[in-house]
Subunit: 286 residues, 2 copies
């Protein structure tokens, strides 16, 4: 497996693969790889001739006062994991390579980026869309892999790919969870042992929302309340949102009609650690 | 020569050319082709294996009250001209193909898009950058050709290509002029015979600015005044700007140092027709 840090070298590699008729899969990450990332890399390795795992903690998608500085980094560990999972290349550019002096371009995907995460992290999705467009242009993928854990991010990237006519297939793979249901996240390392124990309540809150819908609840406020009640059991928690929304456009009608695809979205701060999670379901017919 | 209107067909064609190892040149236009466009297509035909001329009057780059509706269109004439100049393909998508329901993404290239044209046409360069990114993704060019007549547009696209790591070479070709110096433009057809006669004063104004710099003038306001004096001779003219700026970043220092690359930029309305033009020069050493 190759480790590439220079943009020019990455471009050359991609051109070469394309010229040889190879299909390229890309797995964009911020590193500190966990089993969720591995599932993406492994899938890419079965579907594509060559797999690039990108590792870049993107400053453009962090707001002031967020955890850019302390975000966990371990290139040696990441390289080992990426290799074992089936990467052909790890692309790990420096910030100066990605954002040289004079850099000024941003991509805005419109309303889908303004709700939920976008409301709590202004500019976040502009940073995500911009860096992903750069990584796509550098790695020239046929297929790009993302985890459902970052559900709204998947919608944002999907909107960008569609609107800008990028010739790339997106694969969204299921969230990988710990035994107690906590979604894998590089940020889980921030949690104390006690916080880690209660963090599984995020999963249980989502399950409670799913159960309520399965039992016939269609009123958004009532679904949200089911989730809220569980999350309120977490000591030291601040709930940014715990909300049911339409799966495609993240709209919030008072009531979801039978057959509607619904996503349950959570963002919760436990101490200074902000975790997100989500689940998809379909409103049953009577 | 093929005429393609469907996005899916354009993508297939580009993929096929790439797979065969052909180099692709693209000439993005809004149609109503003139000799300026021809010079771009002809150059592309000498440098690339295959040339796509795109013809699309892009609503996203027109403001309210601008000339989107009356912008001249003549597909039959354009097709004939593009073929004769050496196009392999004319790509002429419909607005509904380019901006289907739900389209929401825009690309903003920052400060370079805010001055001059950007100040007088808010959102114009966001529309330009967005459509050009789409056309690049659809046509997969190795080289893209633009005319220097739209100087700031060239800077905007150059910024986007650099910032988003698009693997595309930009070629900016000289402005093609009528015998009296008026820059070729699809909008010249709007001019009455009398307006057309006085329109050559744009060229003479730029020449006066160039001459002033050549004679040693470095003070921005004085250079601008030389141009203004000529433009004031046009009856029924409204000058949006007549300005000297640094060629790379369009900055406006009080004085340009020896060796500086300077662009002289004009935007003038003659009646209801808005014309732009520019010239590049270098400030001489003493």
């Amino acid at each position: 497996m190759q480790v590439i840090t220079a943009i020019s070298e990455m471009q050359q590699w991609s051109q070469q693969q394309r010229r040889m008729g190879k299909t390229i899969g890309v797995v964009p990450t911020m590193g500190y790889l966990h089993d969720g990332h591995c599932s993406l890399i492994e899938r890419a390795a079965t579907e594509c001739d060559a797999v690039v795992t990108t590792i870049f903690v993107n400053p453009l998608q962090f707001g002031q006062g967020e955890d850019f500085e302390r975000y966990p980094r371990d290139m040696e560990r990441d390289t080992t994991i990426a290799r074992a999972a089936g990467s052909s290349v790890v692309f790990a550019p420096t910030t100066a390579e990605m954002y040289p002096s004079g850099f000024a371009t941003t991509i805005d995907v419109g309303p889908i980026a303004e709700r939920f995460e976008g409301a709590f992290r202004p500019g976040h999705f502009r940073g995500v869309a911009t860096v992903v467009a750069k990584l796509f242009n550098l790695t020239q993928p046929h297929v790009a892999y993302f985890g459902q854990k970052d559900y709204q991010q998947c919608l944002v990237i999907s909107q960008m790919v569609r609107d800008l006519n990028m010739d790339i297939t997106l694969r969204i793979l299921p969230t990988v969870r710990d035994q107690d249901g906590l979604a894998m996240s590089s940020r889980n390392v921030y949690l104390s042992a006690e916080q880690r124990r209660t963090a599984s309540l995020l999963y249980r809150a989502l399950q409670a929302g799913i159960d309520a819908i399965a039992r016939g609840e269609r009123r958004r406020e009532h679904i949200n309340k089911r989730m809220q009640e569980i999350l309120d059991q977490i000591p030291d928690a601040r709930i940014d949102y715990a909300a049911a929304a339409t799966a495609e456009r993240l709209e919030e009608p008072d009531e979801f009609p039978p057959g509607a695809s619904v996503v349950l979205l959570l963002a919760v701060r436990i101490g200074s650690t902000r975790l997100i999670d989500n689940m998809l379901t379909t409103v049953p017919y009577d």
